[in-house]
Amino acid sequence: MFLIHCPYCGEREQSEFKAGGEAHIVRPKQPTELSDDQWAEYLFMRKNIKGVQFERWVHTHGCRKWFNMVRDTSNDEIKAIYKMGEKPPTKYK
């Protein structure tokens, strides 16, 4: 079970959190102007990386804030955590 450093509360057990899928997928500003394929790309397509992945997490049983996490899915190492709206650390890109 991970120990996750919530950027608002500090280090907490994984059981207080929920994972929310891939990060940095921005909802299109004008969905009605997208083709079916473009909309499907936003709606359905997600990476499933073995290795370093950018994810969304929420401190459900805590401050209820969403934040981003960089995690290596091959060994569950959490490489970085940053707030929503902040730029992802470039060294893992």
């Binding site: 079970m1 969905p31 929420v58 190492e77 929503m84 709206g85």
Partner: protein
């Protein structure tokens, strides 16, 4: 025949404390300090159980948690009965009753043993191959397979014991209190680390503590004496916590571990009441030191499973620790030096050794020489080819090994014996290490897997790291601890060590025999009766992956998880298939390391605490009035209120009729309520609901439909505008938490610019809904000052008012189609307002109704229930709720998905009403709907989602989803049931009061 084999007293056994126990209904005696296994061996009992498949007689093989054979049932036919208990681990106590498993009628005469003679027709994968055909016979096969298989019986009565969970945080956790673990614990604690040391055994000191040999010395003291002093010292250290009888079950990532602390299993039953039996420790350690030791390997040869055949190290432990001789005519069979320690130790105690069989040809270490000096015959370069004796070994035959070790040569020699100790070298216990995500590497020189890369802040030390000799361990431990704990110095820098151990080993995974393999039974997995022959068969049939061979042959799938045999299985695969061990890898070691009871896992979460539930403020009234409850999410909701002799159907019919004829009352407190405030509240609602909100006047309510981004209906409910920038949203009971989560997600991540604040207020309010033609009269009695006229208080509006001095909000909204009023009051006034409504409604026969009647009433009106009539594949268009979808709004969650190529298909499943040809016939929810039952294959058009007998319409009604249903009004369809076909007609889903006249009646 209770021949006492207690040959020499041991300081670990209290011979002044005699304990009586029963094994298979016969009384025996042992001493305090004995395990069931040592006590049985002292009584010269080896035969303890029968094997799983062939029902072969099996005895005690080991002296630890790796035991595959000696597993027993404790306290049969009582509430404390427990199956699969390892006799080698359970400490005896007064009144212990154990019995053999997997045998009938008795361990001495087991009918299942016929399988042993049938074994030529019971090869690997036998069940897979044989019981497949014909498929319809499976039920019959299964009955017999289940009856004859299975290890032990689970208890049928509630568990009388108490279990608990505990969180522990420490700087350093040390698993295993052998010599390495003790040294690590002392070093860690003395350097100021908060340290926890756990060991599965009742005694500290591992195998060194009973090591009395002059050949192994530390600082010129016998190793056990030296260690004993260390143990006495660590017991005095404050920041070191020591837990014995504590077995680590799981090692998860981020140094999170689960351990089971056994507190009462060694006590007589009458001393256990009121005490916690097991404690599940949830340990979070900054650093972990694994010192889990190693397990001795058996050797694989024909009939290597008879009672009386033990691991050599087990024989040594029984003799040194328990003072018990496992036999009077002992033979040791080995491929390495460690068995000579056993031999010397037996010899010193005066226990007779007939001979030593050594695979190796040239051996002349100090230990070997000492044996020879004492005139014990050593057969060098020999192997055992067979053993004899059905319920106890009585003879072995041996032959010389060829130079390459692939064949046997020369003539057979027979030697009588009553006990055979075998030693195939050692396997590091890396189970926990690999569970944590650690990767292993294979060391060719002695054929072992050892830790390679660590996924967290941890190390392995001692023999679990492949350091098997005293000098290897002690010469490296100091540096390891310094590096790991980041300290300058330890007390163990310059130990003087004497360790006369020759490391040579002749590793032959499957020892050759004079017979062809098909005629032999060289067991690899004892518990599951998997032999080397089975593994070779699996390879012949094309299995290559170790994981596949494991499942096909069931090697390593018993309660012992193959702790003894897995390495041999790998070795045999490697030799037969010509692949390298290191490349084959191991099977995955999964938690728990040793089995856990269910009690330990659930802890205190039993009975009403198993799954906590939520109660409304009016709950007690429902209980007093005999309501039946249903679970909705975590809530207990009143389902229906049966009067005398009423079943569910009668109660629901009566409640439904009363609600439409006069008045009904419902506790709707469980509906989710979210308080929404902020200058952008209206804009926010526009984005999350399908319909428009900007123009909703203050004081008005509106029904809203919420979609997922994929266009499918997610939740619904009425939202009320309390003020310019203040709304209160209601959600479905089960969906409340998820809706709040979803709204917060969008606010925080997609629209952080919106000024909106969300607060869950579900628990803050009690909600009482009074409906029916007389509802207005009742409410006017409860709140006389409130003007209830249709023009002052129209449908879909609310009023803030007071009942006596209690503030309340009354909403005129309806889920039943009747005129109805929903009173929301601060939760703690809920019960008193409910009582007031009941009192006021008495003259109108106000009838409390539960969720079932609520569902029936809304179905009459064709109102959907999200999650019953929808299933995450239904768009609002599919639900014929096009009117709910704003055409004007530029965007809302899910809008774009409503005109994807898939969602605009005309033949999607759409919501429709169904009436049966016979109005008395009620459909089954979930029943399939077809047009032509004779077509093959039958095309399934949809299914029934809601179905009731309507007492108000006096006919059966149903809602369902049907492909292209929207355009099928009036069409006849068929519901095929098991014994009949029901004819139905597609109708509009609204069955009652299409004109909404009753809302203002």
């Amino acid at each position: 025949m209770t021949n006492n084999l207690r040959v020499k007293s041991s300081k670990f056994i209290d011979e002044t404390y005699k304990i009586s126990f029963k094994f298979n209904n016969k009384t025996y005696y042992g001493y305090k300090g004995d395990t069931l296994a040592s006590a049985l061996l002292a009584n010269n009992i080896h035969l303890v159980g029968r094997s799983f498949k062939y029902h072969r007689p099996r005895g005690i093989m080991t002296a630890g948690s790796e035991e595959p054979n000696a597993i027993v049932q404790l306290h049969k036919n009582t509430s404390r009965t427990e199956p699969n208990v390892r006799a080698t681990e359970i400490e005896i106590y007064e009144g212990l009753e154990a019995s053999s498993q997997n045998c009938w009628p008795s361990v001495n005469f087991d009918l299942g043993a016929i399988n042993n003679f049938l074994s030529p027709v019971l090869p690997a994968g036998f069940y897979y191959k044989t019981f497949m055909w014909p498929a319809s016979f499976w039920e019959k096969y299964e009955f017999f397979i289940r009856k004859s298989a299975g290890l032990g019986k689970s208890p049928t009565e509630p568990d009388p014991d108490i279990y608990e969970h505990k969180y522990i945080h420490c700087d350093v956790l040390i698993i295993g209190a052998g010599i390495s673990g003790i040294i690590a614990a002392k070093t860690s604690a003395k350097n100021g680390f908060k340290t926890l040391l756990v060991d599965e055994k009742p005694l500290l000191g591992g195998s060194t503590i009973y090591q009395n040999s002059e050949h192994f010395k530390i600082n010129n003291q016998i190793s056990s004496s030296w260690l004993e002093k260390e143990i006495n010292e660590i017991k005095k250290i404050d920041n070191l916590e020591i837990k014995t009888r504590t077995s680590v079950a799981a090692f998860h990532g981020y140094n999170f571990l689960l351990a089971r602390e056994n507190l009462t299993d060694h006590l007589p039953l009458h001393q256990r009441d009121g005490k916690v039996r097991h404690r599940l420790l949830k340990i979070r350690a900054k650093k972990v030191i694994s010192a889990t030791g190693s397990l001795e390997r058996p050797l694989v040869f024909d009939n290597n499973d008879r009672p009386g055949i033990l691991l050599s190290s087990a024989i040594e432990k029984y003799s040194n620790l328990f003072g018990v001789a496992c036999g009077q005519k002992n033979i040791i069979f080995t491929n390495n030096d460690s068995a000579y320690e056993t031999a010397i130790s037996l010899f010193q105690k005066g226990i007779n050794i007939e001979a030593i069989i050594d695979n190796r040809e040239n051996v002349d270490s100090k230990l070997v020489k000492e044996i020879e000096k004492n005139n014990i015959k050593i057969y060098k370069g020999y192997t055992v080819v067979n053993t004899f004796g059905y319920k106890r070994i009585n003879k072995i035959s041996i032959m010389q090994l060829s130079k390459d070790g692939q064949k046997v040569v020369g003539s057979k020699i027979s030697i009588d014996c009553d006990c055979l100790g075998m030693s195939g070298g050692w396997t590091p216990a890396v189970h926990l290490f690999t569970q944590s995500g650690g990767k292993l590497k294979f060391r060719d020189e002695d054929q072992v897997f050892i830790p390679d890369t660590y996924p967290s802040d941890q190390i392995s030390i001692g023999s679990c790291n492949g350091e098997f000799t005293l000098d290897e361990i002690l010469s490296s431990i100091s540096k390891k601890l310094k590096d790991f704990l980041n300290i300058k110095k330890t007390e163990y820098e310059n130990l003087e060590i004497q360790s006369h151990f020759n490391k040579t080993k002749r590793n032959i995974w499957l020892l050759p025999s004079d017979k062809i393999i098909g005629k032999t039974k060289p067991f690899v997995d004892y518990q599951n009766d998997a032999t080397a022959k089975d593994i070779k068969l699996a390879l012949r049939e094309g299995f290559r992956s170790i994981e596949h061979v494991k499942r096909y042959t069931t090697t390593g799938m018993g309660t012992d998880q193959g702790k003894l045999g897995n390495m041999h299985a790998l070795g045999i695969i490697s030799e037969t298939a010509g692949s390298k061990m290191g490349e084959l890898g191991t099977t995955t070691f999964r938690p728990p390391y040793t089995p856990l009871t269910f009690g330990t896992i659930v802890g205190r979460n039993v009975g009403e605490y198993f799954d906590v539930f939520r109660k409304t403020p009016i709950h007690d009234w429902h209980v007093e009035n005999k309501a039946k409850f249903e679970n909705v999410g975590q809530w207990k909701r009143a389902w229906f209120y049966p009067k005398e002799n009423e079943g569910m159907h009668e109660a629901v019919q009566r409640e439904s009729k009363a609600a439409r004829d006069s008045a009904g009352i419902l506790d709707a407190s469980t509906l989710g309520k979210i308080d929404i405030q902020g200058t952008d509240a209206s804009e926010f609602l526009n984005r999350v609901y399908t319909n428009a909100w900007s123009k909703l006047a203050i004081g008005k309510c509106r029904y809203g439909l919420m979609l997922n981004e994929d266009g499918m209906v997610y939740d619904d409910g009425v939202t009320t505008r309390l003020d310019e920038n203040h709304y209160i949203m209601t959600t479905t009971t089960g969906g409340a938490a998820n809706v709040l989560g979803k709204l917060e997600d969008y606010l925080q991540t997609e629209w952080p610019e919106l000024d909106v604040y969300l607060t869950s207020v579900t628990d803050h309010y009690a909600t009482i809904s009074v409906c029916g033609p007389n509802s207005k009269k009742i409410i006017s009695k409860v709140i006389p000052n409130l003007d209830l006229s249709d023009d002052k208080f129209p449908h879909m509006s609310f009023k803030d008012t007071k009942i006596d001095k209690v503030k309340c909000r009354v909403m005129r909204i309806s889920f039943t189609g009747e005129q109805s009023f929903e009173i929301n009051v601060q939760a703690n006034y809920g019960k008193s307002v409910w009582d007031k409504c009941m009192q006021a409604g008495k003259e109108f026969n106000i009838t409390p109704y539960g969720t079932e009647t609520m569902h029936l009433l809304r179905a009459e009106k064709g109102f959907i229930i999200v999650g019953q009539d929808t299933d995450a594949t239904m768009t609002p268009i599919d639900l014929q709720m096009d009117w709910m979808v704003s055409k004007k709004k530029y965007d809302f969650i899910g809008k774009r998905s409503l005109y994807r190529s898939d969602t605009i298909r005309e033949d999607r499943k759409q919501l429709i009403g169904l009436v049966t040809e016979n109005p008395k016939e009620v459909l089954e929810e979930g029943a399939q709907i077809v047009a032509d039952a004779n077509k093959s294959p039958v095309e399934m058009l949809g299914h029934v989602t809601s179905s009731y007998y309507s007492p108000n319409l006096e006919k059966s009604i149903a809602l369902g989803v049907v492909k292209g249903g929207k355009n099928m009004m009036g069409q006849k369809l068929i519901i095929p049931m098991e014994n009949k076909q029901i004819n139905v007609t597609v109708t509009d889903p609204v069955f009652l009061d299409k004109e909404n006249k009753r809302l203002n009646a």
